[in-house]
């Protein structure tokens, strides 16, 4: 706390804008490595387009696998960002101030990544635009009854709105940078980006209003997007997919994984840029508590799935869930349970949830667990549905792994650029929570 009191407005400016100094060798090497991985991912994708989807590990009847898993995973990641920035904003949760910019950036980049996979997994990616309702000479439109089209709109909207939200939130801070940097090229860039922000009262007036509306839109949007994603599965009739609990289950899962990812990202940044003053233990604890909550919800969903399968007396459902726990993919299933339901229980202990290292490790576990949750839902359900005659196993191929690695590289590329180009913490909002300088205070 006393550290925080040492903060002054100018120190805030200084410390945060300092992050944008010339990139170090470490940063460059990291960046280059990242690009290399990305290039490999791109190669894998092009190879797949050229030869055909067969180079991926799909096999009858498992027609969706790692690609869609990644899609759901990244969309999930994308959620906590908006949650922290929008929902917590509406709830005036103070612990969000220091981390919301990073998580918003994460949101935007995660959506950018997620958006790739529906195209990557197409059999004929070159005609992906047929999914858009555009006027054409064939007089053909799209099928608005298809959950995939709901995806197109939901994800599209989500990307647009979260980017706006992200950008608008940054305008004042960019102005601050503009007023600080001297060297010409950066000066010009930031000048343009800041749209001539002056911090005058009328600007602030409209700004706060607008910001409130964005938040108000983003909140239901976030819920809707992941509900829609969950409907990709819930709307079908595949045992293990066709379930009413999916939307809340998925939303909770999304927030769960998203928070974990935030921690995974924030911890190292905090360390590297010495932001202990801004990002405090208290902030982490706040997130840790939310993780406990969401973890419990997810665990509850796991239990309920089993219960419903058993209680409904639906042989297909029951067969499916017994298969998950005991069948060919049982390992993955238990990895999921361990990572998502068991590990987070540690956070009940204050010692653990106030220990940065522990948090970091736990967050990694959760990321893995949540990836496998999606994998299990998609692959296991498909390989063991109604018709025993059609059952078959799925084995992943190097192409899919390559593309997956590429997607992570893609995400981190944006992130690396972000922390070097844009203010990773919100300057103006941190000032809001600082005590305003008054003459009385000075006098005393």
């Amino acid at each position: 706390m006393n550290q925080e009191s040492a903060l002054t407005y100018s120190k805030v400016n200084h410390d945060i804008i300092r992050m944008l100094d010339k990139p170090t060798v470490k940063w460059w090497s990291l960046f280059i490595f990242d690009l290399a991985v990305l290039a490999f991912g791109l190669f894998c994708f092009l190879y797949q387009v050229y030869t055909g989807l067969g180079v991926a590990g799909y096999r009858h009847p498992v027609f969706w696998a790692v690609y869609i898993t990644n899609f759901v995973f990244w969309v999930g990641i994308a959620h906590s960002g908006t949650l922290i920035s929008a929902i917590l904003y509406l709830f005036r949760a103070r612990f969000r101030m220091s981390i919301y910019r990073i998580s918003e950036a994460m949101t935007v980049f995660a959506v950018l990544t997620a958006g790739l996979f529906p195209i990557i997994h197409l059999g004929r990616p070159w005609s992906f635009y047929w999914l858009l309702p555009y006027p054409n000479q064939r007089e053909l439109w799209v099928n608005f009854r298809s959950p995939l089209l709901w995806d197109v709109f939901a994800v599209g909207t989500y990307l647009t709105v979260s980017s706006i939200f992200f950008f608008v939130g940054m305008i004042p801070d960019i102005a601050a940078i503009r007023d600080r940097v001297k060297e010409i090229p950066r000066k010009i860039i930031y000048t343009i980006l800041s749209l001539g922000w002056k911090g005058s009262t009328w600007e602030w007036g409209h700004y706060t209003r607008a910001y409130f509306y964005f938040a108000a839109f983003a909140t239901p949007l976030v819920i809707s997007v992941h509900s829609v994603v969950s409907w990709d599965f819930a709307m079908s009739n595949v045992p293990g997919w066709h379930s009413t609990i999916f939307p809340p289950y998925f939303v909770a899962g999304a927030i769960f994984s998203g928070l974990a990812m935030v921690i995974t990202l924030v911890v190292p940044i905090r360390k590297i840029f010495h932001l202990e003053q801004f990002i405090t233990i208290a902030n982490f604890e706040g997130m840790a508590k939310m993780i406990i909550l969401t973890s419990l919800i997810v665990t509850y969903a796991y239990v309920v799935e089993f219960f419903m399968a058993w209680y409904s007396g639906n042989p297909y459902e029951w067969g499916q869930f017994m298969y998950r726990a005991k069948g060919d993919y049982a390992l993955f299933y238990w990895i999921m349970i361990f990572c998502n339901s068991v590990v987070p229980l540690l956070l009940w202990f204050k010692k653990v949830r106030t220990n940065i290292k522990a948090l970091f490790i736990i967050s990694l576990f959760i990321n893995i667990g949540m990836w496998f949750e999606r994998f299990n839902i998609i692959v296991i359900s498909l390989s063991h549905d109604f018709e025993p005659g059609g059952w078959g196993l799925y084995r992943v191929s190097w192409v899919e792994l390559g593309v997956t690695a590429g997607s992570f590289a893609w995400f981190f590329m944006f992130f690396l650029l972000f922390i070097k180009i844009l203010p990773a913490l919100s300057i103006s909002e941190i000032k809001e929570i600082l005590p305003a300088p008054t003459r009385e205070a000075k006098a005393r």
């Binding site: 989807l53 799909y58 009858h60 059999g123 004929r124 047929w130 079908s236 018709e387 025993p388 005659g389």
Partner: protein
């Protein structure tokens, strides 16, 4: 898309030698074939840039061909000795589909998978493109026809000049009819011999008939009339005598109609595909069928139930008196009560019929076994009733294995100077121990007329490739009542020449033969011999009219009534004993003929390779079937490579754990393990014949297939056994349902609620038709004809072993098999294809309307709109949709077979059964042109058409009078997984089973 466009044969111009051994096809003919660019469709995105296409007109338009209009020609199938009648579809001068000829009494419309695949023989990329001769360096090199012929002429002259005409041998398969006569006369004229070799020639049947009735022939059996069928290992639904014919007759006998059905009991150590259709499987000890038959006879006679004269009765009693059921039970390991029960059923439910002599179960005592079976038939009064000696098989003329053996012997003794080989592949089908290859090397000059580079042809000095059946004139007789005509469907694809023409043309050059063989072409010769037939059968008719009529109908079909025969004296001389087995091994070794490859001649046809074996669902390879008990003993799991060791060598192949085989027996299918014979056949699987001893059925001299005991050991190597269905159980989900006769009679079985009334949406509106289908499981024998027919009709690509291992086979219809062990072991088949659901889960999830429900109830799939999200398939309850993981190709000239009316799909699109929408479209168009409604049964999808047992009925559910709409309301009717409420257009009729005694 470009490569598939080629594959799609929009313009497959085949220059000399391209992708072929040589010759290729005469360009002019080819253009004639091509006619107008039309060809098979290849689908592209909505964004196809236009290719610059050439339109090539006819030079002289063939009067028979109108581009775009298919023509059908009747002919006869020669894929096995059964000689089914076929109709072949010709589009733009190309044969593109084979269907059974409804007029032919043999198959009456049906075909088997092998028959369907004949097209891939015609268009096989590994066919020999032209005549070859062995050059100085000892390699076969292409040559011209007249050269090749003159070489042969010189050879013959040389031999005759030495007066060695008797050292000329013509070795052919069972080619009855004119060609047979020609070859007979020709070889005789040269002073040589004509030897007819069939791998499965069933000598014991003949011999047994001679002994018991004095008739040295193979009769026909009227299975359709029997009420009780008792088969001692006769695989009449697979390869035995005339599988398609007997499959049809069997379904007539065993199919459930007006509250009754016949009973079928199969006696064999290994539950064969035929046995699967049986109501009862008796796993008898290998080689002891004779005793069981005698035991049953004994029981019948002692009951005094036999319908024989007293004299015969005493005679028979003397014969069977020692074989009391209890005694027999000890030998055969069949419970006594079973024996007595069967005896009872056999005489009580008449007419009954006992069959025997399946190749796989032919032991060294087969003749005796069959005599015993004859006795059984005789005392049950079946002979002259369901056993028809009036109408016998030409297969009876085949030489016995013993004679073949002696030929090989004389070859090795250099007593053969010129060996002409036609349509047989002895170096593959004869056991290694017979040393045929060595003997062949002793023959100075070998001529092969084979169209394919098989093991024997490879060793020939001269290769004069014959046309395939679909390119030439000929005739064939399977049984006395049928004369089948063979007519060319299209111009030869390669530079081949009909064997008949070759013989005639070389005869011209050999003095002494010109006069006898004066006809210019084999076509003339054929007509002459048919003049003979006409004067015999229809002397009053004018020949031309007669001839055209027969050619159009595909042949002459007559009725020949059974003749009455009495038991001969010789029967009493027969003595019964257990057969001989070679090898010290503990396990009986069974090599059984494959219904996909017959004796191996089918192995070069990708469709057959990719057709899953009905019982194991394995493809593209050989396997060994082993009982779980035995497997446990030697610690074997599925996919383990087992080494099978007989005194004559060993083979190594993958294990398949199969409950349908006795623990003391293992079985390996015949047909694979070729060393050559084209890219699809060679170096694939193993050939079990290699390790068989040269052991004959003593009495008849037929080859004893079941004659070895082997040692089985693990090699330690293990691989995934590539098959198309992993699970063997239907998890009680009622996919393939069955119902017992008693339940049906009593009517106490739950009537199935059919979807609509539980639906939240208003029922679908159908404008004119609602196409639907019914599938009768009590008739399905799992032969896979429908699957292959679908491949042929719908341009379904063959993906190869590697891809099938990933379950990426493209078959639109698959035969699922489920094992049942509740009471006794039995297997159920169910053909699974797109159900064209009224409430299809696949439709609403497609974002681009690539699949939707059309106004005739078809679940349409528009390939060129598909972007490949594959959501539809995820959501498909029946998992019948197939995805194009790659763009698949048809090597030239296989692509000539592609159906122009069906798009060839390219990578990245979904595909599935369309109920043969192209046929529906044509049917409706025809109806509209004739200003009438579509008649019931007018439109038949490929699967339904091919089915030899008429399992599948297709029609309009909206028309209340149609057969299918009646069947949809049948008491046995149910929809697969109907609780999902997809409201399928396909009604399955439950399999009917006898209540287990």
């Amino acid at each position: 898309m470009s490569e598939i466009k080629k594959g799609g044969s929009t313009k497959p111009v085949l220059s000399k030698g391209e992708g072929l051994i040589t010759g290729g096809i005469k360009r002019r003919d080819f253009l004639k074939i091509l006619g107008v660019v039309g060809g098979t469709a290849a689908i592209t995105g909505g964004c196809s840039p236009e290719p610059v296409e050439k339109i090539i007109p006819y030079v002289i338009p063939p009067d028979t061909i109108i581009p775009g209009i298919p023509k059908w020609y009747a002919s006869t199938c020669m894929e096995c000795p059964a000689g089914c009648g076929i109709l072949v579809k010709n589009r733009e001068g190309r044969a593109i589909k084979i269907e059974g000829n409804p007029l032919s009494p043999i198959n009456s419309g049906g075909t088997c998978a092998r028959g369907q695949a004949a097209l891939q023989g015609l268009y096989n990329p590994d066919r020999i493109g032209g005549p070859h001769t062995r050059n100085s360096s000892g390699r076969l090199e292409p040559t011209a026809w007249d050269e090749a012929e003159s070489i042969l002429v010189e050879k013959i002259k040389e031999i005759r000049s030495k007066g060695n005409g008797n050292k000329i041998v013509f070795l052919t398969n069972n080619i009855s009819g004119s060609l047979n006569r020609l070859i007979d006369d020709w070889v005789n004229a040269l002073g040589g011999r004509h030897i007819v070799y069939e791998t499965f020639s069933h000598e014991p049947l003949k011999e047994a008939n001679r002994i018991s009735f004095g008739i040295n022939k193979i009769p026909t059996y009227h299975i359709e009339e029997t009420k009780y069928l008792l088969s001692f290992g006769a695989d009449m639904l697979e390869t035995w005598l005339s599988p398609v014919q007997y499959a049809r007759k069997f379904s007539e006998m065993h199919g459930y109609k007006n509250k009754s059905m016949g009973k079928f009991v199969q006696v064999e150590p290994r539950l064969s595909l035929t046995g699967v259709s049986a109501d009862e499987w008796i796993a008898i000890r290998p080689g002891t069928e004779a005793f069981l038959a005698l035991g049953i006879a004994n029981a019948i006679l002692s009951e005094g139930a036999a319908s024989v004269t007293s004299g015969e009765a005493d005679k028979l009693n003397r014969l069977v008196k020692d074989y009391k059921p209890d005694v027999v039970s000890l030998i055969t390991e069949v419970p006594t009560e079973t024996i007595t029960r069967i005896a009872k059923e056999f005489v009580e439910s008449r007419p009954s019929l006992a069959l025997g002599g399946g190749a796989a179960n032919t032991s060294s005592k087969s003749t005796e076994t069959l005599v015993a079976i004859n006795i059984l038939n005789y005392i049950a009064g079946n002979v002259g009733d369901t056993v028809n000696f009036g109408d016998t098989l030409t297969l009876s003329n085949a030489n016995s294995f013993r004679e073949i053996a002696s030929l090989v012997d004389s070859m090795s003794k250099s007593e053969v100077e010129l060996l002409l080989i036609y349509n047989v592949n002895p170096s593959f089908t004869l056991p290694k121990t017979l040393r045929f290859d060595e003997a062949l090397k002793k023959v100075p000059f070998v001529v092969s007329f084979s169209s394919f580079m098989d093991e024997t042809t490879e060793q020939a000095n001269l290769v004069l490739p014959d046309h395939t059946t679909l390119e030439k004139w000929g005739d064939y007789t399977h049984q006395d009542s049928v004369y089948g005509v063979i007519q060319p469907i299209m111009d030869p694809v390669f530079n081949t020449k009909s064997i008949g023409d070759v013989i005639l043309s070389i005869s011209k050059k050999i003095e002494g033969l010109e006069s006898q063989f004066s006809s210019n072409t084999f076509y003339d010769y054929l007509r002459d011999s048919w003049r003979g037939i006409q004067t015999r059968l229809a002397p009053d008719k004018d020949f031309e009219a007669f001839w055209t009529d027969k050619v159009e109908r595909g042949g002459i079909y007559r009725e020949i009534a059974p003749i009455q025969v009495r038991l001969s004296q010789e029967v009493s001389t027969v003595s019964f004993s257990e057969p001989k087995f070679e090898g010290e091994g503990a396990i009986y070794f069974m090599a059984y003929p494959s219904y996909r490859y017959y004796d191996g001649r089918g192995a070069n046809k990708p469709w057959l390779q990719e057709l899953p074996d009905a019982i194991t669902t394995a493809v593209w390879d050989t396997w060994v079937e082993i009982n779980p008990e035995t497997a446990r003993k030697i610690g074997v799991r599925e996919g383990d490579f087992l080494s099978i060791e007989s005194p004559y060598g060993n083979i190594t192949t993958q294990a398949y754990i199969y409950k349908g085989i006795r623990p003391d027996t293992i079985a390996v299918p015949i047909g694979l393990g070729h060393k050559s014979y084209g890219r699809y056949a060679q170096n694939r699987g193993v050939n079990p014949i290699e390790i068989l001893p040269v052991l004959t059925d003593e009495a008849s001299g037929g080859f004893a297939w079941l004659s070895t005991k082997v040692n089985v050991s693990k090699t330690g190597k293990r691989e995934q056994l590539v098959k198309t269905q992993d699970s063997t159980s239907q998890e009680g989900r009622g996919i393939a349902q069955a119902i017992t006769l008693k339940e049906l009679e009593s009517g106490v079985h739950e009537q199935h609620e059919l979807g609509e009334k539980f639906d939240m949406y208003p029922p679908q509106k159908y404008i004119k038709h609602r196409w639907g289908m019914s599938i009768d499981l009590s008739k399905c024998i799992g032969c896979g004809a429908c699957v292959t027919a679908c491949y042929a009709e719908n341009n379904i690509p063959v993906v190869g072993k590697g891809q099938v291992a990933k379950r990426r086979e493209m078959s639109w219809i698959r035969i699922e098999r489920f094992y049942h062990e509740d009471n006794g072991f039995d297997i159920r088949f169910i053909p699974m294809l797109c159900q064209h659901c009224g409430n299809a889960p696949c439709e609403p999830v497609c974002p681009v309307y690539a699949t939707y429900h059309n106004h005739e109830g078809l679940n349409a799939m528009i390939y060129n709109r598909c972007v490949g999200t594959r959501y539809c398939s995820n959501n498909c309850t029946y998992k019948v949709r197939r995805f194009n993981w790659f763009t698949y190709n048809w090597p030239e000239p296989l692509n000539w077979q592609l159906n122009p009316d069906v798009s060839v799909r390219t990578k990245g699109v979904m595909e599935k059964c369309t109920f043969c929408v192209q046929r529906i479209r044509f049917g409706e168009d025809r109806a509209r042109d004739e200003e009438r409604n579509v008649r019931d049964g007018e439109i038949i999808p490929a699967c339904a058409q091919a089915c030899p047992t008429k399992v599948i009925v297709f029609g309009d559910l909206k028309d209340g009078e149609s057969t299918v709409s009646h069947l949809a309301k049948d008491e046995r009717g149910y929809r697969v997984l109907q609780e999902v409420n997809t409201q399928p257009a396909i009604t399955y009729l439950k399999k009917v089973t006898w209540d287990k005694a």
